[in-house]
Amino acid sequence: MSDVISLTDIRRVFIMGDQQFEALKGVSFGVATGEFVAIMGASGSGKSTCMNLLGCLDRPTSGRYLLDALDVGGMNANQLAEIRNRKLGFVFQGFNLLARTPAVENVELPLVYAGFSAKERRVRALAAMEQVGLAGKENNHSSQLSGGQQQRVAIARALVNSPAVILADEPTGNLDSTTSEEIMNLFTTLNKQGITIIMVTHEHDVAAYAGRQITFRDGRIISDSLAGTTGLTDQSV
């Protein structure tokens, strides 16, 4: 299978006043379609910076980033917005749903910016909600949903535009262990349906759900291993 994501010698330098800080010091890896990758590392290891780059929210200082065979590096802000809209789905730690907005409209949001008609938006949003097991909760506002349900809404929102990759940033960070397990099972199910998922986490038991784990330290990848080789089999599903 071809790589949906390909990073080659990615560097990201932040300049604060007269100080330079190199958050990523030459990172290269590829992600094949259908993979479930966990990115791990302590805070300050560069995993969040890498995630922002993968999410096209930030641009690398140098290096090459191919997303779905498109060179993202040279794109302007509007083109990146379109890439985020068409190729990527985001799931955040804090759910990041719009307050006082029905769940279904939250799910529809990416389609609004993609320019779909209201009718088509609704059909697709309902299908995505069904996919994450939220059928019947369409009109609930986020305040009327549990944390797990809110994260499901966020996952439905990430799914609705059929992205090439779903990026999840600490998706279970705000959830209790039972709910975390539910969400991770949902990710696993989605992955089995062929959806590529890249997830940032610092919890080993959460990372264990992924088929591949990439570990960062000090802006470099220190390990890149397939599941089973890191001794996490005792916590498998």
């Binding site: 929210l57 509007n78 949001l109 609004v112 910016y113």
Partner: protein, 408 residues
């Protein structure tokens, strides 16, 4: 992203903070209401003045006698009886720009009917007077040339006089006494209202010129007249007619250069034009004051929009992450600001219009609410939204999505 969707998002944002949205709008509401009310009052005043111009008649020049020096004593216009019926005939025949003219003699005295009496102005004139002033009768007939020629003892009553002497009874054919001389009432004039000087023009009795000269003014002045009303052929010829009259009368009265003339001409339309101009200046001034309150209101909008952008930083981050372009964000906040001001504008228009109506009821001061001022107010409120909404919207659109997502 289609406009309808943008509008819906903006509406939802305004609804979420109802009280704040209303308070923000208040500045615009007051500003627009003030503009609408001021314009209504101002154009009401202009309307009154133009009505008064119409009530005098158009293209009129007034020739007044006087300003003589006799025995070292100088007096102003009306101070002496220097105009004659011959002067009037000369003006009619020798001034090409003059359409017609009417001499008047003026006297005041008591009118008596039965046990009623009324002190009023008695004006002797010729039939041309009623053409010049565009003043018709509502009952009976007007004064004709034969009445003047025969010095008939007939009279026309103004509305005020008719009401005070006859009440609701029909005055036509009745005999009244003017300065003890009996006159037959032949007609009642249409209502004319106030003159620009504030006099009641309907408080007048008209009699044929020669009748007045013989019976109502001092006996030895039977050929002299008071003032002459002249109508020019057109508005464009008004100044020329005035000039012609001046040079003709100077010649007839043997006024040489350097000597004070014994008559004065006055162009009534000009006086009124000045009055109208000052009322326009007044409404312009009021409009300017109201515009300042609009600007203040606009600044309020900008302030609240800035707060709103800060408050919703996270929302902006989410939208950007999900694929909103900078322009989408810009448009969303602009729409919100414009919606806020336009809504305020509409409420202000309604408030201002009803306020003006109430004022005109209570103070019986006429107000005119023009479609024009409403349109201007509406679009101006929109423009305020665009102008003051742009900066906060640009700030929102310029946010970095990573920082915005992380914002607590």
């Amino acid at each position: 992203m289609d406009f309808l969707q943008t509008l819906r998002i903006a509406l939802r944002a305004l609804r979420t903070n109802k009280m704040r949205s209303f308070l923000t709008m208040l500045g615009i509401i007051i500003g627009i209401a003030a503009v609408i009310a001021m314009m209504a009052v101002g154009s009401g005043a202009s309307y009154v003045i133009s009505q008064q111009i119409a009530s005098i008649g158009s293209n009129i020049i007034l020739v007044l006698p006087g300003s003589t020096t006799s025995g070292g004593m100088r007096s102003g216009s009306g101070g002496a009886q220097t105009l004659t019926s011959d002067d009037v005939r000369a003006i009619m025949t020798e001034c090409p720009s003059v359409e017609t003219s009417a001499p008047t003699v003026r006297s005041s005295g008591l009118a008596v009917f039965g046990n009623m009496n009324w002190s009023t102005v008695i004006m002797g004139t010729t039939p041309e007077m009623f053409d010049i002033r565009e003043w018709g009768v509502i009952s009976g007939r007007s004064i004709g040339q034969q009445d003047v020629d025969s010095a008939a003892k007939v009279c026309l009553l103004g509305q005020t006089v008719a009401e005070n002497l006859f009440g609701s009874a029909d005055p036509i054919g009745k005999i009244i006494r003017l300065k003890k001389v009996p006159f037959t009432v032949i007609g009642v004039l249409d209502r004319k209202g106030q003159s620009p000087q504030g006099q009641d023009q309907d408080d007048t009795i008209f009699v044929p010129l020669r009748t007045a000269q013989r019976n109502l003014v001092r006996a030895n002045h039977t050929n002299t007249i008071g003032a002459v009303m002249v109508k020019a052929r057109s508005e464009a010829l008004l100044a020329k007619a005035e000039e012609e009259i001046n040079s003709l009368l100077n010649q007839r009265h043997r006024i040489t250069a350097g000597k004070d003339p014994d008559f004065t001409t006055r162009n009534l339309s000009e006086i009124l034009a000045v009055a109208e101009q000052s009322s326009k200046a007044m409404s312009l001034l009021l409009g300017a004051v109201a515009s300042i309150s609009l600007i203040v209101g606009g600044i309020g909008i900008m302030n609240i929009m800035l707060v709103s952008v800060t408050e919703r930083t996270r929302e902006i981050g989410i939208r950007m992450a999900i694929g909103a372009r900078r322009n989408d964000i810009l448009l969303q906040f602009m729409t919100e600001a414009v919606l806020l001001t336009m809504l305020g504008g509409v409420i202000g228009i309604i408030l201002g219009a009803s306020g003006a109506t109430v004022v005109s009821r209570i103070l019986s001061w006429p107000t005119l609410i023009s479609i024009q001022s409403i349109t201007v107010a509406f679009f101006f409120s929109g423009a305020v939204g665009i102008f003051f909404g742009f900066y906060p919207a640009r700030k929102a659109a310029g946010l970095n999505p990573i920082d915005a997502l992380r914002y607590e």
